[in-house]
């Protein structure tokens, strides 16, 4: 590892700084606010999608119920609701991230100062 930031005190390597930052309460708050949204939401959309696939495989009678005498059935509505939920989750995430996560990330980023990208790990 040749990582060495330009503006740090000689005794403190960026590794130390990252380790200290990772253990700080403010970073804990950022991690919690990020994971607190994306993990439950991932579980939610995955279960919702799995339900759709499972019903397509095993609940054909239910999926073929027609809505009000039209040719539109539960299967089509269910499929379209997957579109609606995807758009909705995307929108909710964008709103949540910009309001709750980004400000916390910005604070920490500013505190860490600029670490030159060229000094990062090989790659």
């Amino acid at each position: 590892m040749s990582t060495e930031a330009r503006d740090t005190a000689p005794t403190e390597t960026p590794e130390d700084r990252y380790l200290a930052m990772q253990r700080s309460p403010e970073f804990g708050k950022l991690r919690k606010s990020f994971r607190g949204f994306v993990f439950p939401m991932t579980v939610a959309f995955f279960v919702w999608y799995a339900l759709y696939v499972i019903l397509s495989a095993y609940a054909r009678d239910f999926m073929s119920i027609r809505i009000g005498g039209s040719h539109i059935n539960v299967a089509l509505i269910f499929g379209l609701l997957q579109f609606v939920s995807t758009f909705l989750i995307a929108w909710l995430y964008a709103r949540y991230a910009s309001q709750k996560v980004d400000p916390l990330a910005d604070e920490i980023h500013a505190e860490l100062g600029e670490v030159s990208p060229d000094e990062g790990p090989r790659g």
Partner: protein
């Protein structure tokens, strides 16, 4: 109504000439962009990541152009046209998959990586084994995907240009025209990538996304207009002319088929449906050619924006596919479609011809719209294969050459030169393999690419980003375990041998009952990643701290 096969001579040659002219316009325009882009490409960052200069919207369009392949446009429309509702499952899986990319991958990857998927995987690991595994997986996935696209292009051209068995076009029979198309598509993608790099490729993808969305929107509006914007009457007509009645609008004609009196086969068919569903939704966020697109924007927030745009664009497109598929079923009819192509890949172009006849008038109108949609289909294929070639050559140069062979000591210039040579080699290999496979049924390769991405790449990426204990051995095990299990299971599945529609339909070494390996190989990939990790003592908490802080804050991002 044999639209393409037996149209009036004037209509046929008009369509053919117009298709070729429009296609040449597209090629000339994209080559001009490519040359322009090559002048802006000076550094490795320019070549691999388009200088990270694209906006969220531009990248969202390019993601759409990279992602919506011939399998999406022609394939889904064809499956819906012939099998009704079941084609919709692909649309839904392909779309919902983007939530994995949005929530768990895009921003973190953008913050912690530089050019390739392996930058993140190898961040806190020993470079050589992880980068080698990532390069192997990237190239395998990309080649599978490339083959499906290029063989599809070859099959399409004979149909779109109306070359029937026994007749010739510019002195070529159908077989020669196929080979010529594969070589042409291959040559163009090599030029886009070697000359234009990521910048050129991105603009090709943006232009294609615009053309595809416009073409699909136009056709959707025309289809709906035929049915006076009454969705129910479109569905009713489609069901009626399919000859399958309401079952055409319900799941079960193609996937999860219930075989009367054969409970075992029914069970396998339903498992196969679940297996396909899970591979579709988990594959996208592990596709290397999609992942490298997140590096083309300046920040993680721009990456987020680009995924939001991509979800909007891709979702809208997949809604159009409903109208295209059911429209083709209602207005063209399954008989006319299967007469052209048994897999239904010509349903969308045939629908265009029919809509042109109704709205623009006569054979000339029919020929005009057919030509436009045919040109859009070729643009679609070109943009996707360019993205795939770029992803695999980037990985070969950046991961394998620079970091494995040269120990990270290669200069930028050497690296980019190797990337260009790699694109040439991979392109040539893809051309040769496609010519060899041109008469085989390789449509399953797209689903296989998704399965490999979900089984090998996704576990490695998620463990890397979220699991402190994860290490070199875990990453290597996850990638090889997922990759090998998916490929081996497919090799012994009914899509490769032992069934009438198999790739090698005359042989039979099949023992795995499912066509899609995901149900087994995805959990197996995650399991391998866990097992490999706990069997190794390696653990680097400091590097994980760096990765975690950087990925969440953008500190030190490239």
């Amino acid at each position: 109504m044999r639209v393409l096969a037996a149209e009036a001579a004037t209509g046929g040659s008009t369509a053919r000439t117009l298709t070729i002219i429009l296609f040449l316009v597209f090629v000339a325009f994209t080559l001009a962009i490519t040359v322009w882009a090559s002048r802006q490409t000076k550094t490795a960052t320019d070549f691999y990541a388009g200088g990270r200069s694209f906006s969220g919207f531009q990248n969202g369009m390019a993601i759409g152009g990279d992602y919506m392949s011939a399998a999406s446009f022609l394939g889904i429309a064809g499956i819906i046209a012939l099998n009704g509702y079941d084609g919709f499952l692909y649309s839904i899986g392909f779309l919902v998959a983007w939530l994995v990319a949005l929530l768990l991958v895009a921003e973190l990857l953008r913050n912690s990586g530089r050019y390739t998927m392996a930058d993140v995987l190898a961040f806190r690991m020993r470079q050589k084994p992880v980068r080698t595994a990532a390069a192997v997986s990237t190239i395998t996935v990309s080649i599978f995907y490339l083959l499906a696209q290029m063989v599809g292009a070859g099959a399409l051209v004979a149909l779109l240009l109306g070359i029937k068995p026994g007749s010739t076009f510019m002195g070529m029979d159908a077989n020669a025209a196929k080979i010529a198309t594969i070589v042409l598509v291959g040559a163009l993608m090599i030029i886009y990538v070697t000359v234009g790099g990521m910048k050129g490729t991105t603009y090709v993808q943006i232009v294609k996304a615009f053309l595809l969305m416009t073409g699909a929107l136009l056709m959707t509006i025309l289809v709906l207009a035929v049915f006076k914007f009454n969705l129910s009457s479109l569905l009713g007509d489609a069901a009626q002319s399919s000859g399958k009645g309401e079952a055409f609008l319900e799941p079960g004609l193609r996937y999860g088929v219930e075989v009367a009196g054969n409970a075992t086969q029914t069970f396998y068919n339903k498992m196969d449906l679940l297996s396909l569903g899970i591979a579709l939704v988990l594959g996208t966020a592990g596709l290397p050619h999609i992942l490298i697109r997140f590096y083309t924007v300046p920040t993680a927030r721009a990456a987020r924006k680009s995924v939001l745009w991509a979800i909007g664009i891709i979702g809208t497109f997949y809604l159009f596919t409903l109208a295209l598929g059911f429209g083709a079923a209602a207005l063209v009819g399954s008989q006319a479609i299967t007469a052209q192509d048994r897999a239904g890949n010509t349903a969308a172009p045939q629908l265009a011809a029919e809509l042109g006849r109704r709205f623009l008038g006569g054979e000339v109108g029919s020929a005009t719209l057919l030509a436009i949609i045919a040109a859009v289909a070729f643009a679609t294929i070109l943009a996707v294969v360019a993205g795939l070639t770029l992803a695999s050559s980037s990985s070969l140069a950046h991961d394998f050459y620079a970091n494995v062979i040269k120990d990270g000591q290669a200069s930028e210039r050497q690296e980019v030169n190797v990337a260009r040579i790699s694109a040439l080699v991979i392109g040539a290999v893809a051309i040769l393999l496609s010519i060899f496979a041109q008469n085989l049924n390789v449509a399953f390769l797209v689903a296989l690419a998704f399965a490999v991405a979900a089984s090998g790449n996704l576990p490695a990426i998620l463990y890397s980003l979220f699991w402190k204990r994860f290490n070199t051995s875990g990453a290597v095990w996850a990638i090889y375990g997922g990759l090998i299990s998916a490929v081996v299971l497919v090799f012994f599945s009914p899509v490769v041998s032992g069934s009438a529609t198999a790739m090698f339909s005359k042989s039979d070494w099949q023992w795995f009952p499912l066509s899609n390996p995901g149900l087994i190989s995805i959990p197996f990939g995650f399991f391998c990643g866990w097992l490999g990790t706990v069997l190794s003592k390696e653990r680097d908490d400091a590097k994980y701290a760096e990765l975690e802080v950087r990925s969440l804050t953008g500190s030190g991002a490239h």
